[in-house]
């Protein structure tokens, strides 16, 4: 439920952001951080300009990476920054929502592009945007471990996954994790709560053995109470027999 709520609030945030950007600036397009000027068709090659900001939603004080590229331009400038090379990368720390407007001038004319950065101040309570990116990083770096029917032994494939998970966690010592123990729909809820606990504990023990501090790991059994998948098929049951990782906040 929590996960769904977070996903929902993220979607709402993006929608609101697009709406705000649309109100403030006529030229804003979707996605708002990237705008590509159409090439002007003149005999002399018209400049082409592109600029992106990553991430495009931040909290005050966070850093944004601006990346721009131009072609057929002789001078390039970004409002508020000044003259810049024809292509490059720059880190900025805006304190309020900013449109980075790039103008490229060349022999064939000029082109411009805009990257919009939305700064949330005060930082959003529900979904701080730093964790949105941390979420992505976490999802990319940490995968769930799956189990065989009615067992909590770590399979060979799960062992390999857990080793990778552990190295991610060792490399990110500030992250705390929750391991949820999940079971398929068969059998009794009470027995599956204990089985889910054993699965989550087995995953925790594997992480601890690989060097992750036990104090960083919280374990909760969900048994068959919070399934990922609700079909009565072996594919679905396998999806539900897992130790699932999520960020502990």
């Amino acid at each position: 439920m929590n996960r769904q709520f977070r996903a929902l609030s993220f979607v709402v945030l993006v929608v609101v952001m697009v709406a705000v950007a649309g109100c403030n600036k006529k030229k804003a397009s979707t996605p708002p951080a990237t705008a590509t000027a159409p090439p002007v068709s003149t005999p002399a090659a018209a400049p082409v300009a592109q600029i992106t900001a990553t991430p495009n939603v931040i909290s005050a004080g966070d850093q944004v990476v601006l990346t721009w590229r131009t072609a057929d331009a002789t001078s390039v400038s970004i409002d508020g920054i000044g003259d810049v090379p024809t292509s490059g990368v720059k880190t900025v720390t805006p304190t309020e929502s900013t449109s980075y407007h790039l103008v490229a001038r060349g022999e064939g004319g000029s082109a411009d592009a805009t990257a919009r950065v939305t700064v949330n101040a005060p930082p959003a309570v529900v979904v701080p945007s730093t964790t949105a990116s941390l979420d992505d990083e976490f999802k990319a770096g940490v995968q769930d471990a799956f189990f065989d029917y009615d067992t909590y032994d770590i399979r060979a494939d799960a062992q390999a996954v857990l080793v990778r998970d552990a190295s991610f966690l060792v490399a990110h010592p500030d992250i705390k994790v929750v391991i949820g123990g999940y079971c398929d729909e068969r059998g009794s809820s009470e027995y599956n709560l204990a089985l889910g606990q054993n699965r989550a504990d087995a995953a925790k023990n594997a992480l601890v053995a690989a060097g992750v501090a036990a104090s960083r790991i919280r374990v909760v059994s969900y048994g068959k109470e919070k399934p990922f998948c609700s079909e009565s098929t072996e594919e679905c049951w396998q999806q539900n027999r897992r130790a699932g990782f999520s960020l502990d906040r």
């Binding site: 809820s189 009470e190 027995y191 204990a194 089985l195 919280r218 909760v220 059994s221």
Partner: protein, 448 residues
């Protein structure tokens, strides 16, 4: 293909013969109920309204229907169908013509009758039970009941009268018409504890925790509910006071890991539950106040769902996974004398009968990947390990809970993803569905 013959003793219900075949598990034959003892043929007359209060007809309808339903459900009577009863409904002993009730087509051995009147917001019921054949001294029971003039009160009076009849004609065992069934329902969106009368009436919500609550277990004195509930640090055994209408402390049930599936001893002195605080799921025992906590088992794998022997309070049965799939075990209260009762499959959710001799549990005898099997309710005689399958070919059945009369079992049945609470007699007959809204699971029958 060797056919198995099982002779199964059952308290109050005499003998049940079951022929089954090992290879043809789908073939089941159920013959010879109540061998050796006829059920008492009992007639319940429609009660005579004595007042002209406008409420009277509706109260009488509720009372008559409830009394008839209670006596039919008791499992010890052969009830005379309403269509076979004499036309006249006697309101007093002077008005009854016993000969009419003794003759065909009623052929009653006993008749319950009486009158009902509402006035000044009070409902008064005069109830009698007469032995039709004992014309000289026919009265077995004569009693007056008063309560508020409401439908709920009319139902309650009918339950009381039914229980008085069942106590006298049922071998001195209290009836269950006034008992409750606690259960888990999803009908508000989260799994909360609910309560209903034993016949499915009066369903109402008890907890409003907004989390996931499981395994409600009512205290023998009906004062408190022990249950498992999900919090930030996992599952805790918590305690809800029905007297106070709020949670009360049970410190033994809160610790890291999963603490769940509590059970009361019949004297209300102890609570056993499953806890993984030692690193593996084991059965633990505490005083009802939460003190004197100690571990009883030390077996690999899940150990859950303890249930006390309510006759002695000296034994616990539970479901343990030390050999792989869960099996039913028993042990003494000091953790010694461990016995395994089931020999195969997936056996969980034991509930100990009030007489101490029988266990009921949920068993899938052919559990395994790729094997659809059937999860059914079984009853086992602990001394002989003989068992009887009591549900057949209807959904997935779990969480059997004995009624205090030892004659009835409540259980959950899942058909097509929808789980509802059912009751039945302990031989599997008279199955009745009690719930319909939402998913309803884990019934727990009150002790009285």
């Amino acid at each position: 293909m060797k056919p198995r013959f099982r002779l199964f003793p059952q308290a109050a219900i005499a003998f049940i013969l079951l022929f089954s075949s090992i290879l043809h598990a789908q073939d089941w034959v159920h013959t010879g109920t109540n061998l050796g003892q006829d059920r008492i043929r009992l007639a319940a007359a429609e009660f005579k309204p004595l007042s002209v209060d406008p409420q009277t007809p509706s109260l009488k309808a509720v009372f008559d229907a409830t009394l008839y339903s209670d006596l039919s459900a008791a499992g010890i009577f052969d009830i005379v169908s309403r269509s076979l009863a004499p036309q006249a409904n006697p309101g007093t002993p002077q008005e009854i013509n016993l000969q009419q009730w003794a003759e065909a087509p009623a052929n009653a051995a006993m008749v319950a009758f009486g009158s009902l009147s509402a006035s000044g917001g009070r409902l008064t019921v005069q109830g009698w039970l007469f032995d039709v054949r004992n014309t000289a001294n026919p009265q077995v029971l004569g009693k007056q009941y008063t309560n508020a003039a409401s439908q709920d009160a009319a139902r309650l009076i009918a339950h009381e009268f039914a229980d008085d009849i069942i106590l006298r004609l049922g071998g001195g065992i209290n009836g269950i018409a006034e008992t409750k069934i606690y259960f888990i329902s999803t009908r508000t969106g989260s799994k909360e504890i609910w309560c209903m009368d034993y016949d499915g009436q009066n369903q109402h919500q008890i907890t409003h925790l907004g989390s996931i609550s499981l395994s409600p277990r009512i205290a023998p004195d009906n004062s408190r509910l022990a249950f498992a509930s999900l919090g930030r640090d996992g599952w805790a055994v918590r305690m809800y006071s029905l007297d106070l209408g709020r949670l009360v402390a049970f410190p033994a049930g809160v610790a890291g890991g999963s603490n769940q599936s509590p059970a009361w001893s019949a004297d209300g002195a102890h609570i056993a539950f499953s806890s993984s605080r030692s690193g593996d799921s084991e059965i633990w025992l505490a005083d009802a106040s939460g003190g004197n906590l100690h571990r009883l088992t030390n077996f690999k794998g899940p150990n859950v769902a303890p249930t006390f022997n309510p006759r002695t309070n000296g034994q616990i049965a539970w479901a343990g996974g030390r050999t792989g799939e869960p099996q039913i075990y028993t042990m003494d209260l000091d953790g010694g004398n461990v016995q395994r009762l089931t020999d195969m499959g997936y056996a969980v959710s034991p509930s100990w009968a009030p007489n101490g001799a029988l266990l009921t549990f949920s068993w899938n005898r052919k559990y395994g990947p790729g094997d659809p099997g059937g999860q059914d309710i079984y009853v086992m005689d602990i001394a002989s390990l003989r068992w009887l399958q009591v549900t057949h070919e209807a959904g997935t059945n779990d969480y059997p809970s004995w009624a205090p009369d030892g004659r009835h079992i409540a259980f959950e049945r899942n058909i097509g993803g929808h789980t509802q609470i059912w009751t039945m007699l302990a031989d599997g007959t008279q199955q009745r569905q009690l719930t319909a809204a939402g998913n309803n699971t884990m019934p727990n029958w009150s002790w009285k």
